[in-house]
């Protein structure tokens, strides 16, 4: 195997190697280790890691595939390393951002001061598909809306981190962070120890602590459940994993029933009251009485019980408004408005298509921009202008003209790269970073997060449903 001796970081920001070819300070130990391996050893370690994941059954399901719906998320054993000083900035930036978004949610569903002060137009809020009228006038337990967030960060060619999008509904992927770490500890034990990597393993305890914090005061030993759509959901493994790690029940909608205004599980010994739900079902499907009446996954009457304070839920319904991709462009103003501070983490410049000038710019420059639908996730409903064909661009131009509120565009970023094993070589591949943030008694940022990597040469799409894989993330 050819290792770092022939590695070319190219014209990109490389997370491990400096432009001249020398390792970045935190990566020296790792690079030395890989260089010292006998030929073929790195490939062998990669195979062993994959075999381990297969055996543990760490799989996800891909929508639209019938047979063999379970896949292993491709995993690359060369970790991404984040130095301490950079992490401190990310951590404080995320805390600031999540705090402000939570204030924003509380405000727009109640006093609407930010609208009255003309920072954001009411029209923009009300026209979002993820705005929930049902939440108006409501304050969730402890005033927290977005308990679990996965914020997608990218590093551009200038070496700075930018927030690409916020995921405040049901962000997934944290189980991969935990499992990848298990695997990598076995792959590079000495380097791992010598590099003093910060642990990620206490995430389930932190999550449990946060869920317990939400329980009503009279409830010292609350019954907690993870609400899953079921075994066919792409993230089912994660739901099962988190409930197992926290030692709480894993429930489906059909296991729950609302009786006397309280939410109960159907157990072999009758009904048992549930106090807190970590729900992994989207708002739309969570209660056929409140939202989509055709939902088979939800629990009838759950939202009524929730609004009556009979049960706590993470995340609160209605948080989707804050990760609407058009509202996203206002987040710097939102941060300034609620905290009086300038944002620590910058946004990617964004063109809003409902704004006529910006729409015109977007339509003229489709070949340079990335266009995203306001409420899609998982890399669906997206156009990468420079890589798209003329007909794909024409299709998107039509969509933008007919539904401008639903689209925004951003310049194509030059995402940073990390050395990645490709066949018998190491080549650079583009990555992003999704740290996980918990909002309970205080705000906790898991040191690390999911580094997603676009395994296809030159590709910028890191989503697992579109050929992406993952790497372990070492925060020093």
């Amino acid at each position: 195997m050819e290792t770092f001796s022939s590695y070319d970081p190219g014209n990109f920001y490389d997370e491990l190697i400096e432009p001249g070819g020398t390792p970045r300070p935190g990566a020296q130990l790792l690079v030395d280790k890989i260089e010292s391996l006998p030929p073929g050893d790195l490939a062998m370690r990669q195979k062993a890691a994959e075999a381990l994941l297969l055996k543990m059954g760490i799989t996800f399901n891909v929508y639209g595939l019938e047979e063999g719906t379970e896949k292993i998320l491709p995993f690359d054993i060369i970790p991404r390393i984040v130095p301490r000083n950079e992490w401190q900035q990310i951590e404080s930036g995320l805390k600031q951002r999540i705090f402000a978004l939570n204030e924003f949610l509380q405000d727009i569903y109640n006093d609407k001061k930010i609208i009255k002060d003309k920072v954001i137009a009411e029209e923009l809020i009300l026209s979002s598909r993820t705005y929930r009228k049902e939440c108006e006038g409501f304050t969730p337990p402890r005033g927290i809306w977005c308990h679990v967030t996965g914020t997608d960060l990218v590093r551009d060619g200038d070496g700075r981190f930018y927030v690409l999008e916020d995921n405040l509904r049901c962000p997934s992927g944290v189980s991969y962070v935990l499992e990848n770490r298990q695997v990598l500890k076995r792959t590079f034990p000495q380097v791992f120890e010598a590099s003093q990597v910060r642990p990620v393993d206490n995430y389930p305890s932190k999550l449990l602590e946060m869920l317990e914090f939400l329980a009503p005061d009279h409830c010292p030993h609350p019954t907690i459940g993870v609400l899953t759509p079921g075994t066919y959901n792409s993230a089912y493994f994660e739901h099962s994993f988190l409930s197992q790690q926290m030692g709480v029940e894993l429930v489906e909608g059909r296991d729950l029933v609302v009786s006397d205004g309280n939410v109960h599980m159907l157990t072999t010994k009758g009904l048992k009251r549930v106090d807190v739900l970590y729900r992994r079902i989207d708002d739309d499907f969570i209660d056929p009485e409140a939202f989509r009446p055709d939902s088979m996954l939800g629990v009838k009457g759950l939202i009524a019980a929730y609004k009556a304070g009979r049960i706590a839920m993470a995340n609160a319904p209605g948080t989707g408004i804050a990760d609407d991709k058009v509202i996203y462009s206002y987040v710097p103003k939102i941060i300034k408005y609620y905290t009086g501070e300038d944002p620590i983490l910058a946004n990617v410049p964004t063109y809003i298509c409902s704004n006529d000038d910006e729409k015109a710019y977007v339509l003229e420059n489709l070949d340079k921009l990335v266009v995203k639908a306001a409420n899609e996730s998982g890399g669906y409903g997206m156009l990468i202008g420079p890589h798209a064909s003329a007909s794909e661009r024409a299709l998107f131009a039509d969509k933008i003209r007919s539904e401008p509120r639903n689209y925004m565009a951003q310049p194509t970023l030059s995402l940073s790269r990390v050395p990645t094993i490709v066949g018998d070589r190491i080549e650079g591949r583009h990555v992003d970073l999704r740290p996980y943030v918990l909002y309970g008694k205080d705000i906790y940022v898991q040191p690390g997060g999911l580094t997603r990597v676009a395994l296809t040469k030159g590709s910028l799409v890191v989503n697992s449903s579109q050929g992406g894989g993952s790497k372990d993330t070492w925060v020093l």
Binding site: G57, M265, L266, T267, T268
Partner: protein, 324 residues
């Protein structure tokens, strides 16, 4: 525990046991054929009779040949009780309770199913059926072994055991019901030693031959029936299975043996008492088929009662809430 979880673990075990039973029947039959090749044509039909699904078979296949019966009972995804369908159902149930069962159990079940779908093994089933069905049996036994040694013997485990025992009791009664009549030339001969390979095969179908020999030596139809229905210690006798299921049921509810707190305990308790206080002569006088038919109905009713008592609480809730 959650009713859905109890239901899944109960059915997961029933399906595994069912698959093992089918594999065992086929293996015994293959052995028998080697000894009596002239009867080739007649030997495969009873195998389908034991399952009670002959209508479905006849819809799908023209005649009872070795190949068609093996295909039907082993790999037919259209047929819900084929080994492959059972394994698929067991795995789907297992997947939905991964956080409840041990990872050893899940990994084994997962591998077992994936091996079965491998086309190589599908060829093997026809080329080396003995080896193939032995492999299915051993995989099933390994699963139960893993369950007993890697999972706490709490409520979930007890539901699993009940599933296993109910399925086993049902299958033993079916083997006996079908074979007893086919093999007994004349009712008068019920006490005559008929030490032929056919009666040995009946015992082998329930893995009972060696244990029977130790206990009763000569093979008479009467004693074979008595052994498979009433023996206290043999793990596949109907009485033994029902007794074990009843113990697990009482562990779950916490009520003492000899009392009952729900319909399932009541039905199973009565069934157990009847099995303890009936002897084989009463059965023969009453008629073996009538007796076994009635027994199967009662096993099914007890199974249904377990369902309504523990798994289907939802129906009850809806009734009570609509009254308020």
């Amino acid at each position: 525990m959650l009713s859905r979880v109890a239901n899944s673990i109960y059915w997961m075990c029933r399906y595994i046991e069912r698959a093992e039973n089918v594999a065992r029947f086929i293996r015994v039959n293959l052995n028998l054929l080697l000894d009596m090749p002239s009867e080739q044509g007649k030997h495969w039909e009873p195998l389908v009779l034991i399952t009670g699904d002959q209508d479905r078979f006849e819809d799908l296949y023209p005649s009872y040949t070795q190949e068609s019966v093996i295909r039907f009972l082993t790999f037919d995804r259209e047929y819900p009780n084929s080994i492959l369908s059972c394994l698929e159902a067991a795995r789907e149930n297992g997947r939905s309770i991964r956080e409840i069962i041990s990872s050893e159990m899940w990994e084994h079940l997962n591998t077992f199913y994936l091996e079965l779908t491998d086309p190589k093994n599908q060829t093997l089933a026809l080329e080396d059926p003995q080896g193939f069905f032995k492999f299915i049996q051993m995989r099933s036994h390994l699963f139960t072994g893993l369950m007993d040694s890697t999972m706490s013997h709490g409520e979930a485990w007890n539901f699993a055991r009940i599933g296993l025992m109910m399925e086993r009791a049902d299958k033993t009664s079916r083997i006996l019901d079908v074979k007893y009549f086919m093999l007994l030339p004349d009712a008068d001969q019920v006490n005559t030693p008929i030490d032929n390979i056919q009666w040995m095969a009946v015992l082998k179908s329930a893995s009972a031959f060696e244990m029977y020999r130790k206990e009763h030596h000569l093979i008479t139809p009467r004693m074979v029936a008595a052994f498979l229905i009433f023996d206290e210690q043999f793990p596949r006798s109907i009485r033994h299975c029902i007794t074990k299921a009843q113990i697990c049921l009482h562990r779950i509810s916490g009520s003492p043996n000899g009392s009952n707190t729900n319909a399932a305990e009541k039905l199973l308790g009565r069934l157990k008492a009847d099995l303890e206080y009936t002897d084989i002569d009463e059965v023969i006088n009453q008629g073996m088929h009538e007796y076994l038919d009635n027994l199967q109905t009662r096993i099914n009713l007890a199974g249904e009662a377990i369902g309504t008592t523990f798994f289907n609480n939802k129906a009850l809730v809806e009734m009570t809430t609509s009254e308020q």
